[in-house]
Amino acid sequence: MKKNKKMKFLFTVMLLVSILLSSVSVSAVSFTHRDNVDGSSSTVLSGETYMAKTTVSAVDYNLEESFSDMSDMCVFGDKIYVLCAKKSFIAVINKDYTFDRVIEPVDGDGYKVKFKGAQGIYVEDDSIYVCDTNHEKIIILDTKGLLKEEIKCPKSSLIPKDFVYQPMRIVKDNDGYMYVLSLGCFYGLMTFSPENEFMGFYGANQVKSTVLDTFSYMFELLTSNDTKKSASEKKLPYSFVDVSLDSDGFITACTGKTEDWNNSSGQIRKLSPTGVNILKKKNLDGSTSSADSYNFLENTVVTKFGSARMQSFVSIECDGNFIYALDRTYGVIYIYDTDCNLVGTFGGGIGKGIRLGQFKDPVSVVVNGDDVLVADAKNENITVFSKTNYGKLLLNAQNLQLSGKYEEALPKWEEVLSYDSGCQIAYRGLALDYYNNKDYSKTMQYAKQGKDYSTYDLAYQVVLKKAVADNFVWIVIISVLIIGFVVFAVIKLKSKHIKNDKLSTLFSFAIHPFNSVSDIKYKKKGSLLYSSVIVCLFFLAKALEATASGFLFTKQDIENYNLFYTIIQTFGLVALWTVSNWLVCTLFSGKGTVKEVYICTSYALMPIVIFTFVKILFSYFLPLSSLGLVNGFYIAVLLYSLFLICVSIVTVHEYSFGKFILTSIVTVLGMILIVFVIFIMIILLQQFWNLLYSVLMEIFY
């Protein structure tokens, strides 16, 4: 009867589970990251690089035990070794997925060696290494399963007293040095000599801290007491979860769960012999930045019903120029190249894998020739993914590209685009290949589509040089004429005194700010109309800068551009500063009026407005290398405008410089307060509208 009740319960659970399973199953979706011009990246659908062909399990091989608690796989020679920890055996599968044998390890006395909970396997010529995690040792077996040696926690002064030795992954480099990853170890990888002697820790993750963390730490130091100390938590670096050796002999490691509320960054690291991360992300402008700051997962953390679903890598495998990293949460395999470009993804299931190509609990990924194998501990099977035609083309093309074989890569990139018209790395590849072929117009066309500033700039410089050389005489003539015209206009304007006092004040504001502000305040020579025109021009300049600059200087995707933000940044900023400053300065005995503050602030923007228009014009001609110079000019102009504002406020309110600084800080705080109040109002209005809408819907439905 008891058994019946248990069965009934199990049946109920099974049915309920199956209901959930069938209603939420998701398909495998292939996607990639598209770099945006503003430096962010978007996740977009892409062609399928790998497709699940089949699964293999103990059932297919008529084994008496299932692949339960499968935790790791290792490909060596023409065999695939599958570690089945629960029943302490290793299944050996041939490369063509036919069954080879089961290794049930025994010791010298013929007793079975048990390694329940083991998490890692590594195979070399005559040895099989099993990370017996729970029993805190590494078991070394011969190829027939006979126990050869055990490596227990080494005795060394380098190992902290509280260290828990739980080996979970092993890899050996080309010189025979062994790197052991211990569960939860934040000191890095344990390094062993070819004679299995412990040498030290290697390549640990670092604690990431922000400015806020530093302030917080300083505050803690200042206010620390014993009670607080005992309650405080130590911030430790996140530990690695898997390691792999790449074709150049470098250790590549991946970190599992990182931050609590975002997917963080730097999850994949390629370690130099000194343990430094040498993986670099190539930026759009051709520069590189450390992959420590690059998020290898998704920027958006999915929140369902108030609970964030953090992604975390669980396994990594290097294959030539590519890194395969398995995300346990979504069951997605990310393929990165050595420039940190996401080449493609496959897999899926978000823990509900009930179909081919999806996973319930993926634990290990390995590459077997052209195939990728993923072990699923809960489904107790191994899914075999094969490259699609598109995948073959894409990986081949990128491989050739990274090896510098541009001629060979070019036709393959063209074919890649015939499968996926949105493939950004194909456009970049084509751009570089055509640049190599000296076809600069096509280079620029593809670089523009691939948002590849550096290659575009290279081609543009050649085109520019040629254009200048071909039209040098004309360029000199036109330049002389323009300069002559400007000089003539300035002289003419100077000699012919502007009769309109207000206009004259406006033009002299940037050159003689003290006099001009005095004129505005005491002689009423400021104009509301002119200042409004300047603010409008300020807005127009900023809007055009975002949408109409030359390609190399565009920092905004036009389809994502929202004019509202520019309005806020221009009109809003001026209005906010004016109102806040007037309110604050009134309290601080300032003598200025709102009108005066507004006019002076607007006039002070004149240099920025003029510079921005000039910059937009020149953005069509200047190469990327001049960006630093342009930015330098911009900072100078910005500082000059700030100086003008400073002069204006000091003069208008009749302040000392010290008082100006004080009131300016309070003004900025006032601005924040006003914005806060506005936001509160908007949220309240939004909620009121939602309430009205809900009531309306309740009435109708």
Binding site: L15, S22, K304, L356, S418, L563
Partner: protein, 727 residues
């Protein structure tokens, strides 16, 4: 004499009384010869000791019973003739109630004999629910009907669903030549062997999800149960279940195979009698098995759930025979008519436009991005038609493209895709070349008022009285785009939408329409009791197609059962079983039923990664080739790619014609002549051994297809990788 008569009478009375006590429920019936299956010979018994209905094939002697009665059976679930699911009004939790524990073991089963069967009352006293079920021999099979109007409820529990005869269609584990059949996708078989990996379970909502059900949304491009049938084969016998049209859309199929704790594998239908909405409780990951609650509708459906079981025996009882039996059933009962259309053509779908994020003078908004103009289609057809004749489908040529906008895309062909002259030129070209030009109308998804349909008042209602609102799903992050919601048109307004569509057909002289969303996205409308639990969906689709046919217009529709039997051509026909781990084999059951009767078009093959392999799968299952194209592509469409994945996945990045033309032409060159050979032929049988499939057609041709990349030696000689040969 009197005394003798009196004694005789006494004996008769006594005997009859004894009979009443001991064997009153033991009766046998001969089959109704007016049925479509005239050679059936079945008997129906009721075993009062275990409260079991026993169906016996008197020819083979094989019995199928609602309760498994073997000495070794100790599991109560195998002794249950019926399970129910109830909702507790107090805490909104659901409970699965085992019929044996709550009913049979309590001796709360009452059987009443009727003319040709039994009515059995299952009383679940602890839950205050009584479910009467009628078992009768009719039309050559066992017809089981839940008598909804006679269901009684009292107390805090509401009846949600009835799992009818969960053990009737069961097979002993490890039996030779046995399997369960499920019509998921093209059709699937479930092996009944016990393995070290344990039990395999499957549950699928018949005819796909109810789109008017409020639930957390995920990308569900999984294959659905396309036909309301199922079966179990054990050696030389099989039992084949056909769910009644009226209740097909409110049923689910449940299957469990190889469970060593049960010893039996079974498949059965679960009928919902109440609709429900799923609400998640904050801070719980409901989709990972966390907390959620389900709110059921107040009233029950008025439709009587009904499933009929047919016995197939004598060796002719495999999935091929089940398919031909079902085809005969559909034809003889007048449910399916043969289409007059040419069944050897391929189909090209052109996507007109899609809404994308745009900005005008820096003001962000959505605008319709034109993907294909009429002139593009004209050029493409001119190019590709050299490779063979295709039917043409225009998808998303309304105001908002394939994105939801006004009902029926505003019931107009928008001028952004070209002038009326351009369209007429295209139509003339198609007419001249014998190509059918079909225009798709999305008459159920909308988010803008217009053409007499309000986006405030004409929305279908969910089970908990909420407006049926859907959101496009981001397939990567599995989140919904909350700012892009759209609604489902009230079922009561669908007729008006059809009439509007016919007007535009008349105006544009269209002779073919496609109703993909209407026939694919079946949904309930709790504004009206007639549409609870998707009731009358079949009738509504039937009515719509009849109206269209009367105007001489052909209909292209989804491959879902209701439209499949009525429409002139079927689109998005699945090529496999969805590749669930629970299934052991994929079979073209669907194609075996419909091939030769309707043109069957696959999903767009060029949007898949493996064109060559999928084209071969299509041919070997008798499914015509289908491609989707666009004329223009811009990388800004990558944003749109993510958004419109609920009715077919539009991988726009892979659809540009100029990128596809060579590959597609090569496929057409290789396959079109093969399709012509099997044009009107029915599929007699389909077998697959290793990587070679063998499809036998009624015209005597046998197609051998090698589904691997390496050449394989077969009866008909060496077949190259991904190639085929006829014998």
């Amino acid at each position: 004499m009197k005394k003798t008569f009196a004694i005789f009478l006494c004996i008769v009375i006594l005997l009859s009384l004894i009979g009443c006590k001991e064997n009153s429920n033991k009766i046998k019936y001969k089959i109704d010869t007016a049925s479509f299956n005239t050679d059936s010979s079945l008997s129906l018994d009721f075993d009062d000791s275990v409260k079991s209905i026993i169906l016996t094939d008197t020819v083979s002697g094989k019995s199928w019973s609602t309760v498994l009665k073997n000495a070794e059976i100790s599991n109560n679930s195998l002794k249950s003739p019926l399970n129910i699911k109830v909702s507790n009004d107090e805490n909104l939790s659901w409970e699965i109630v085992n019929g044996y524990d709550s009913c049979v073991a309590q001796d709360d089963v009452k059987c009443e004999k009727i003319n040709n069967g039994y009515i059995v009352n299952y009383k679940f006293d602890a839950y205050g629910i009584t479910v009467p079920v009628k078992y009768e021999l009719a039309n050559g099979g066992l017809k089981t009907t839940v008598m909804v109007k006679k269901i009684t409820e009292s107390g805090k529990f509401k009846l949600v669903s009835v799992s009818l005869s969960p053990n009737l269609c069961s097979v002993k584990n490890n039996s030779d030549d046995s399997y369960l059949f499920i019509p998921t996708g093209s059709g699937a078989l479930m092996d009944v062997n016990e393995t070290v990996n344990g039990a395999r379970t499957y549950q699928g909502e018949v005819l796909g999800t109810d789109y008017a059900r409020l639930q957390d949304e995920y990308l569900t491009d999984e294959e659905t149960v396309r036909l309301p049938v199922f079966g179990a084969k054990e050696g030389n016998n099989s039992l084949f279940g056909i769910i009644d049209d009226s209740s097909a859309a409110s049923s689910w199929l449940n299957a469990s195979a190889g469970d060593p704790s049960l010893g039996y594998s079974d498949i059965y239908s679960e009928f919902f009698v109440r609709g429900y909405d799923v609400y998640a409780i904050t801070s719980a990951t409901a989709y990972l098995g966390g907390s959620e609650y389900r709110m059921v509708s107040d009233k029950m459906t008025s439709v009587n759930p009904c499933v009929s079981y047919y016995v197939l025996s004598g060796g002719k009882c495999g999935y091929n025979e089940m398919a031909s039996f079902y085809r005969d059933y559909l034809i003889k009962t007048g449910k399916m008519q043969k289409s007059d259309l040419d069944k050897s053509k391929y189909l090209i779908s052109f996507i007109g436009g899609v809404e994308v994020k745009d900005t005008t003078l820096g003001i962000p908004h959505y605008s319709t991005e034109v993907l294909t103009e009429y002139s593009d289609i004209f050029d493409i057809l001119g190019d590709i038609s050299k490779s063979g004749c295709a039917d043409v489908r225009l998808l998303g040529f309304g105001d908002s493209g394939i994105s939801p906008g006004k009902v029926g895309g505003g019931f107009n062909l928008s001028k952004i895709y070209g002038t009326e002259k351009g369209f007429n030129k295209l139509k003339n070209f198609c007419d001249k070349n014998g190509q059918l030009l079909t225009v798709d109308f999305d008459i159920v998804r909308y988010n803008k008022s217009g053409n007499g349909f309000s986006s405030l008042f004409d929305i279908a209602k969910t089970a908990s009285s909420r407006a049926a609102t859907l959101y496009p799903i981001n397939p990567i992050l599995r989140t919904s785009y909350k700012d892009n919601k759209y609604y489902l048109l009230s079922r009561n307004e669908v007729n008006g939408a059809i009439l509007n569509m016919l007007q535009i057909c008349n105006k544009k002289k269209l002779n073919s329409v496609s109703l993909l969303s209407f026939t694919e996205m079946l949904f309930s409308d709790y504004n009206y009791s007639d549409y609870y639990l998707r009731a009358n969906s079949g009738d509504q689709i039937n009515d719509a197609i009849n109206k269209i046919s009367k105007k001489g217009i052909t209909t292209f529709a989804s491959s879902n059962y209701y439209s499949a039997v009525k429409a002139d051509a079927l689109i998005n026909v699945p090529l496999n079983n969805g590749e669930y781990f629970a299934f052991s084999k994929s079979v073209p059951f669907y194609q075996t039923v419909f091939h030769g009767y309707k043109p069957l078009y696959s999903y767009a093959l060029n949007s898949t990664g493996e064109l060559e392999q999928n084209a071969l799968d299509a041919l070997s299952t008798g499914t015509n080739l289908s491609f989707s194209f666009i004329g223009k592509y811009d990388t800004k469409l990558q944003n749109a790619d993510l958004q419109y994945v609920d009715v077919g996945t539009y991988d726009l990045y892979s659809l540009l014609y100029k990128n596809n033309s060579e590959r597609v032409k090569n496929i057409l060159k290789k396959y079109l002549s093969a399709f012509e050979k099997i044009n009107d032929a029915q599929i007699v049988s389909y077998e697959i051994n290793g990587s070679v499939s063998q499809t036998k057609f009624s015209n005597g041709l046998i197609l051998y297809a090698n589904h691997s990349e390496n050449p394989v030696d077969t009866k008909v000689g060496l077949i190259d990788g991904y190639s085929f040969k006829f014998a």
